[in-house]
Every structure is written in structure tokens, then in C-alpha cells.
Symmetry: C2
Subunit: 172 residues, 2 copies
Amino acid sequence: MPLNEHDNGQVDESFVKEKEAAFADFIQRKGLKTTRQRNTIISTFFRLRGHISVEELLNEVKKANPRIGYATVYRTLHLLVESNLVEERRFGDGLARYEGHSDVEHHDHMICLECGMISEFFNPRLEALQEKLAEENNFEIYRHRLELYGACKDTESCAQRKNKKAAEAQGA
Amino acid sequence: MPLNEHDNGQVDESFVKEKEAAFADFIQRKGLKTTRQRNTIISTFFRLRGHISVEELLNEVKKANPRIGYATVYRTLHLLVESNLVEERRFGDGLARYEGHSDVEHHDHMICLECGMISEFFNPRLEALQEKLAEENNFEIYRHRLELYGACKDTESCAQRKNKKAAEAQGA
DNA sequence: CTGGATTACGAAAACAATTTTCATTTTCGA
DNA sequence: TCGAAAATGAAAATTGTTTTCGTAATCCAG
Ligand SMILES: [Mn+2]
Ligand SMILES: [Mn+2]
Ligand SMILES: [Zn+2]
Ligand SMILES: [Zn+2]
């Protein structure tokens, strides 16, 4: 079951330019070198939406430059994470996913196990409660991850699909 | 109420017996066979505390029977998970960990990135709040995971160790 | 008790995601 | 422009886990 993003829509150019500049800055500060490949990769990455796997990214990158390989994509993603422009996610399907949108504002995820939809949410009370619990345990939080796995109850309901499956299993 | 990893106490025999019986039941119901190896593995597993990796378990198992191999340990752990006697966890270090204690009561985790300590907590308000947020998003939760990554602030403080490291990085 | 179909075992091979190696190319400051 | 340092890409290596396959153990019908 692929974790699909049901989100089309365009990314605006100024956003991409901003990220490219921030990455260039990071590269500079670290004394690394600007390369054609890295530029292609980050510019491609920030034009994509959602939670992108390495393979997805490489496929897109290859459209611009088919000679770019896995290693460089992996390496560049590590740099993006190190520069705080991108966050790595793992939703339990065995592959790393990367997201660079929503400006590194923290958020958590709900993952529909039926259709793969991933939605994001943020709730200050929830965050505060975590801090409170950490405090009580004499613990200092650097970061956290909260993932809700389940099914959407929307139109065409994934939750219903799940029930049907359960019923079939009974009958069998 | 954090049960921490460095807890040494003994596991009481009745607990182990109970789990062995429950597993035997499961094996029976599924029409599988009772084997010496599986018995060794589960009996070893339930005598261990904490969040056990496959390698840790295999090492212990080999003390009882050195001929048991990885494949059987993996296979038996899958059965334990399927039977709901054990839960699989992944705390981001790339390996699966298994826990069978605390009677499958749900709980979440705080992981100290300095000393590796894992403590467990449960808070009904936090759980309720998640349900409320799911409801608002028209989402049905099957399960969730919440992990707080950070540092303990106890004696000898891991948090302090972290600060020292940061200071050194500055100085360099 | 068996016989023998069924299931399990274990060593090794296969896998999948990711990292590393290494020969070659590119970058960039002196 | 030169050359040290860094980056690239193809391929090999690594890591955690799963599968294969020949052999062995289980267990129930007879
Ligand atoms: Mn997200
Ligand atoms: Mn736990
Ligand atoms: Zn859905
Ligand atoms: Zn600690």
C-alpha cells in the first residue's frame, strides 16, 4: 500500500528560490562546493509536495539530468536534513521520506492505512501536555514524533472499506 | 511512573508460565506445531525486560541452545506479535525492538539520546486529546505512536553532558 | 505405537534500503 | 590557470530482515 499524497497544486517560484538560497548559504558556511547536481536535486525537491521518498525524488531528478545517481541524491538529502531545510520521516513502510514544505513548522501526522493519505496537524495543547509530562519525568525534549495510524471516515470511507474486509475475513 | 530500562529486578515465574501458556494456546488455535526451539525462544524472551532487539534475544537464546539461528528467532517473534503477546517498536536506530512486558497495556516512550535510557509513560488526557483531534479530522485511529527524544535531567545529567558537548563544538 | 503428511529448522542465499569505495571529474581559491 | 580539496557515479559493501531449500521434528490417523 503506497503512502500516496493526494495533493496536486503548484509550488510557487519564490518559495523554491528562497530554499535554493538558504541551501547555497549552508553550503558556503560549511565550506562545501556548489555543484550542478546538487542544484538540480534541491530545485527538484522543493518543487515537489508531500512526503517524498528517495526513489520518487530520483525519478524526478532524472528528468532534468538522467546521469545523476542514487548516491548523490542520498548525499544531498543528508545535507538538506543537516541544514534544517528538510525533515526525514518514517511512517513504517520501510522507506525514508523527506519533507521540506510548511517551513519546518513542527507538525504531526495521521496516516490512513487504507488509502495511504497522510494529513498533518498541530495542536498546542498536545504539545504543551507533552512538555508537562516530560517535566514530570525530569526529561528534556529535543524533538518528538506522533503518528496516528488508522483510516479516514470521509466520502467513500476508508473506514468502511476496512469493515468490509473484516467481514469477508469472517465469512472465509 | 516510568519503568526504566536499567531496571534489574527478576521476572516472576508465574508471569512467564502465563505467557508460555498463552503462546501454546495461540499455536494450537493456528494449527501450528509445538517445538523445542519456539519454547526456548519465548521462555527466554519473557524472562528479559525492556525493549529487546533480535540480536539481544538471539544471544540469550543461544545460551540455552546454541544451535538456534536467526531465522527461527525472527519467525518466532513474528508469531509473538501476531498473537498479541508482544509489540514491535522502532526507536529510530534502525532495528526492531520487541516488548512483552507491562501486559500489552498501551504506553508511550521517552528516549534519552545521551544514555539510551527508555522510559514509559501513559497519560489519559493525552490519549483523549488524540481522539478528539482525530474526530475533528474525520479520522479513525487504530493505533498510534508517540516518542519523545531528548535527554534525562537526573543526577549526572545527560542534559548536562549534551550542553558540554555543544560548548566544545563552539570552542573548536 | 508407527507412517507419513505437514510443519519447522537452520545455513546460506536473497532482498531492499542505504552507505561506502574508488577511479575520475569538477570546483574554486591562490 | 593550477592544483588541492571536494564531489560524482557506478559498483560493491553493509545492515537488518526475509526467503529458499534440503533435512529433521511433530503429531494424528490408523
Ligand atoms: Mn508532514
Ligand atoms: Mn515500552
Ligand atoms: Zn483513507
Ligand atoms: Zn539519559
